[in-house]
Amino acid sequence: MSGNEAIAPTDERLKKEGFVARMMKRPELGAIAGVILVTIFFLITADPAMFTLSGVINFMTPAAQLGILAIGAALLMIGGEFDLSIGSMVAFAGLFFAAATVTFGLPLILAIPLTFLFAAAVGSLNGFIVIKSGLPSFIVTLAFLFILRGLSLVGLKVATGGSTQLRGVRDATEGDPLAPFFSGDAFGGSFAWLAENGWIDTFKNGTPKVPGLPVEIIWFVIIALLATWVLLRTPAGNWIFAAGGDTNAALNSGVPVRRIKISLFMVTACCAAMVAIITVMDAGSTDSRRGFQKEFEAIIAAVIGGCLLTGGYGSAIGAFFGSIIFGMVVIGLTYTDFDQDWFQVFLGGMLLIAVLFNNAIRKRVTGER
């Protein structure tokens, strides 16, 4: 046998990694850099009002609504699958929720769990078909994009007798003890107190310009933290990375790949249901165009957040910042002199840069040359 000294050398060709090099390997780096760049851009071009408290809340609200979807999409992408039906799922779950509260007059304590159960069932159907058929999830969920959108339209007409909008959610849910958790603003008291002390801007009559923190922002942060904890600190997180990284290797190591993937489809659908409940209660009605094209925006936010299209890599924190970039651009352009329609150009450009960047990162991580 060759001597042991031959096998345990510290390789002289192995360079010590600096802090910067280590940070370069974090999946969320691109999104954080993006947030900084976009902030600088708007600091220069936009009206200073954008970065006051009310301005920030203004762009964080759409960011949060998208972000809840994007975090679900990111988890699923890390697990190696896509869901193109989440936008339609928002409409479908919105219809279910509105019908439950308005048509059937259920209290929120029943309507909300039922909506989640219903969404989870649809998600598991998606997952089950993908797993059983072995078809790419892209095509299966593309089918559901149309099926769910169509069902939402048909269902709305049945529920309303011909209209594509179902109203009356606000009246039906008013006074419900659970309503404050899913609509309106939180911490109103704290904001009023801050206003009294002159720490935040107020209107002339003394009421604060920002009455409270919109609940979706709180949910957005909670879901991002929860998803990050699951990914980085639990066995289930390890299985999600493994299932997306290499299904065969994961199976051979005893990872329950099918269970993980179907659960992820259910989680994604439940994220869509969450957005549906919040936005339907906010608007007081639901319509068939709710969540239109949100699936693409969510996937873009996840990709900007560092998710690889091939699975096995990404982060929920990345999707969190990806969604903030999104919100900043959508709302930020209204504070500038630019035409708002630049938004789509911006979005496509961001996506392209993110994908190129992620590809480079992946090569660094795997040591590919």
Binding site: M1, S2, N4, A6, I7, A8, T10, L14, E17, K25, W229, R233, T234, P235, G237, N238, W239, F241, A242, G245, D246, N248, A249, A250, N252, S253, G254, V255, L308, G312, Y313, R362, V365, T366, G367, E368
Partner: protein, 262 residues
């Protein structure tokens, strides 16, 4: 080595048929604790079928497999793994994008806490990975280094270390050196030596006589689904092994025409 003790696994006259194809036609093989038993054979000799039979993927058509003195009947590779028969296949069951630690514990993560706060014991996982890899002679830069950055030999070693850590009594290595360079090969062979010295029985499958002779205690040659006998270290020359693998005659003529370089 510890010869003379009872074998951990003993396979007697194993036959395996796939329809009308006879993949294994009477194979006898055994492994003792702390030895490296090499199974040599050319392509198509039945090596893969043999490993899969031993690791519980296939059920033998005929013959019996004794595990620690008892007849065993594994219905899945999972059963065999839990009993202590670990197989490192050529794909290694590793995910390049994931860290060494995450790969090491994939599917068997240690946890702490309970209820909704049940989480991976990351510190312990990192510590075990670093220690186990150091024992095998690999100094990781950090436990969160991605497996993709490791060389082929290092990946092989991670797979071996993982199997050993999870209590393998028998370690089956499927051509661990076939795709490696010279230096990496010697690293893997050194790892095999270390594992053997821990009292684990190693089944080393190869078609490279030189690699086998470097670490093997015993050598069994498989040819056309049959074992051609087992030789102990020192009893046999590389040329004899090579001849047995290739089926003798033909190889001798071939080798002659190539000037004895094969």
């Amino acid at each position: 080595m510890t010869q003379g003790t009872a074998p951990i696994v003993e396979m007697r006259n194993i036959e395996k048929h796939f329809g009308n194809i006879i993949a294994l036609a009477g194979v006898s093989f055994d492994v003792k604790a702390g030895e490296c038993h090499c199974l040599l054979g050319d392509n198509g000799a039945g090596k893969s079928t043999f490993i899969k039979t031993m690791s519980g993927v296939h059920k033998p058509t005929k013959g019996e497999i004794m595990f620690e003195g008892k007849e065993m009947d594994f219905s899945s590779p999972r059963d065999a793994m839990e009993a202590g028969i670990a197989t490192v296949f050529q794909d290694l069951a590793m995910i390049p994008l994931m860290s060494v630690t995450r790969n090491f514990f994939m599917g068997r993560e240690p946890t702490k806490g309970s209820g909704p706060f049940k989480r991976m014991d990351v510190e312990r996982m990192n510590e075990i990975t670093m220690t186990e890899m150091r024992t095998m002679g690999i100094n990781l830069r950090a436990p969160d280094q991605a497996v993709g950055t490791l060389s082929g030999g290092e990946r092989q070693t991670v797979a071996i270390a993982r199997a050993v850590h999870f209590g393998a009594k028998i370690l089956i290595l499927d051509e661990p050196t076939s795709a490696l360079g010279v230096r990496q090969t010697s690293n893997v062979l050194a790892t095999i030596d270390k594992v053997r010295n821990q009292g684990i029985g190693v089944v080393f499958i190869s078609h490279n006589v030189r690699h086998a002779l470097a670490v093997g205690d015993r050598f069994t040659v498989l040819n056309r689904g049959k074992t051609l006998g087992t030789a102990t270290r020192g009893e046999i020359t590389p040329e004899q092994l090579q001849d047995m693998m290739a089926g003798g005659q033909e190889m001798a003529t071939l080798e002659g025409s190539l000037g004895g370089t094969v």
